[in-house]
């Protein structure tokens, strides 16, 4: 399931909802991305997350489907926040539940890697020196390419 929202989320509540009544789930992995205050030389005061409504949900659903094809996943939840967030605030949650821990952890890593390079979100940083759009990093592309099938 995919959710794009301004509101914060409760990791434990979402995790319980995902596994409730499913006694064949042996492992749940959660990745939570947070706003850092060390994006460069300048202190970060806040981030504003912009996205492409419609395409975001479409891409995230495609990424979820790809993960379900590759791993035996019982359930997936992706929550991505939008709007203005301050350092320490949660930006993104990726939750995967599987009967096997390996599938749960690997699919979680796959989802966050793909999300970083394929989902249409952009970050505007407010620093002590002004505003600037965060640049995409080669290391993120490398992380996604690692999952390409040979």
């Amino acid at each position: 399931m995919i959710r794009v929202q301004k509101e914060d989320f409760d990791v434990a509540a979402e995790m319980s909802r995902l596994t409730e009544g499913r006694h064949n789930v042996g492992g749940v992995t959660a990745f939570v991305g947070l706003v850092r205050d060390m994006g460069g030389e300048d202190k970060i005061k806040a981030m504003t997350l912009e996205h492409y409504p419609g395409m975001t949900e479409k891409k995230l659903s495609e990424i979820e489907m790809e993960a379900r094809k590759r791993w035996p996943i019982e359930d997936v939840l992706i929550i991505h926040r939008i709007g203005r967030l301050e350092p320490g605030e949660r930006i993104v949650l990726v939750l995967t539940a599987s009967s096997h821990r390996k599938a749960a952890i690997e699919s979680c890593q796959f989802l966050i890697d793909w999300l970083k390079t394929d989902a249409p979100f952009w970050k505007l940083e407010e620093t002590t020196e002004g505003e600037n759009w965060v640049k995409a990093r080669d290391s993120d592309n490398d992380a996604t390419r690692r999952w390409d099938k040979n």
Partner: protein
């Protein structure tokens, strides 16, 4: 044709969205960007370095040679930075 701009393309052009009617010889993404670039000094500035621009047609990533139809939704934006 609906054109959407995001992130610094939006702020440089000063528009989130515009409706364009390019001439009939504009048949693919690359042609469209060349044509949009001439619309205003802000467009020229935003679209000067095409290697910094990513394109989606009807909400799917598209390459520069992707063919266009008159009712397409075309989005131009920098590489994504979510997560």
């Amino acid at each position: 044709m609906k054109i959407l701009y995001f992130a610094w393309l939006r702020s440089t052009i000063g528009l989130a969205q515009e409706t364009a009617t390019p001439p009939s010889d504009i048949t693919n993404v690359s042609d469209l960007i060349d044509w949009l670039r001439e619309l205003s000094p802000a467009h020229t500035k935003a679209l000067s370095d095409i290697s910094a621009v990513r394109v989606a047609v009807n909400q799917s990533f598209a390459s520069l040679d992707y063919p266009l139809a008159s009712d397409d939704e075309v989005a131009l934006f920098p590489p994504v930075t979510g997560g």
